[in-house]
Amino acid sequence: MIDNGDDEAWFDEDAGPLVRAYAVTRGRTKTGTTQLDLITLVAATGLQAQQLGPEHDSVLAVCVEQQSVAEVAAKVGLALGVVKVLISDLIERNCLMVRSRQNAVEPDLEMMQKVLDGIRRL
C-alpha cells in the first residue's frame, strides 16, 4: 500500500487521478479496525453520516442495498483502497454494518453444494 506519512505535497500534479482519489480520504490509506476484503458485504444501517464528505454520502447511498466493497468502489467510481477507507469511516460511525462473515470463510461441503446448486440453476 501507499504510505505517504505526514509529508505535504506527496505527489506532483502529474499524479492527478491518484491525488484526487486520495484527497477524499485526506491521504489515509489504512482502514480502521474492520478488516475489509473485496467481497466483504456492507449495508446501510439507516443512520446518516454527519459531517463527512460527499464521497461518504455517495458510498452510503449505494449501500442502501447490501453490496460488496468491490461493487461499492465500482459504483462510486473510486479506487478500491480509497473506498475501503470511506467504508471504514462509515462503519466506525455506525452508518454502515458488515453483513458477511470475515474473509476467513472455510468453504465446507454444505456451502459448496449450495454454490453448485446455484450455478446449475443459471
Partner: protein
C-alpha cells in the same frame, strides 16, 4: 433525539460472499466470460499502485460480476488479465478465493502459463477454459495438460468467451473438483 429507523441494527454477520477469479492470458476476453453469467451488469474497479518510486504510479483494473445464489449467499467473479503489473492485485483477489478459472487461448496456450503458475504456486484450485478453438480441431486435454504442466485433477473444458452455458460448465467443473478434493483429503484442499 428519536428518528424512525435510525437505530443502528446489530451487525450480525449472516450472509456469505465467496469469489472465483477469472484469469486470462493476453488477448483472452475475461470480461465477456464474467459477464456471461453475472446477474448484475459487469462492473469495473480500479486500484492504484506504485510501480517504482512514489511518482511512478499506475492503475490496474478488474472486472466484477455477481451470481446471487440466495439473499445470504453471493458468488463474485473477478476477471483480470495477466499483465505483469496486475499481480499485486491478484494477491488480494486470490486471498480467500474458492478457486479460479484460467481462460486460455487454444492457439496460444503458453500465454496462460503465468496464470497457471500463479494459482499452482498458491495452492488455489483452478480449472482451465479453452477458448479460441472456433472451427478448428480442439487440442486434446492431454496436450493442454502437457503444455501447461497440469495435474490430472485439473479440469480442462472447451469454452466460448461470452457463452453463458460454457461458463456455467466451467464453474460447475471447478466447484465439483473442489468438493471432490474436500472429500478425499479433508481438511486441506490445496492442490500442489
Amino acid at each position: 433525539m428519536e428518528s424512525a429507523g435510525s437505530e443502528p441494527k446489530t451487525a450480525v454477520p449472516d450472509a456469505t460472499a465467496v469469489k472465483v477469479l477469472v484469469a486470462g492470458g493476453v488477448g483472452t476476453d475475461t470480461p465477456a466470460l464474467v459477464g456471461s453469467v453475472s446477474d448484475i451488469p459487469l462492473l469495473h474497479v480500479e486500484e492504484f499502485f506504485v510501480v517504482g518510486g512514489v511518482a511512478d504510479l499506475a492503475s490496474v483494473g478488474v472486472d466484477l460480476g455477481r451470481i446471487t445464489i440466495s439473499p445470504e449467499l453471493m458468488l463474485y467473479l473477478f476477471g483480470t488479465s495477466t499483465e505483469d503489473r496486475s499481480w499485486f492485485l491478484w494477491d488480494e483477489l486470490s486471498t480467500g478465493a474458492l478457486g479460479a478459472i484460467v481462460l486460455a487461448d487454444a492457439r496460444a496456450l503458453e500465454d496462460s502459463a503465468a496464470a497457471v503458475d500463479f494459482f499452482r504456486g498458491r495452492g488455489i484450485p483452478f480449472v482451465v477454459g479453452l477458448d479460441g478453438v472456433q472451427g478448428g480441431r480442439p487440442p486434446e486435454a492431454d496436450e493442454v495438460r502437457a503444455t501447461l504442466g497440469l495435474a490430472p485433477t485439473v479440469p480442462v473444458r472447451l469454452c466460448g468467451g461470452a457463452r453463458r452455458e460454457s461458463t456455467k460448465q466451467l464453474l460447475i467443473a471447478l466447484v465439483e473438483s473442489l468438493m471432490a478434493a474436500a472429500r478425499t483429503a479433508p481438511p486441506v484442499t490445496a492442490i500442489r
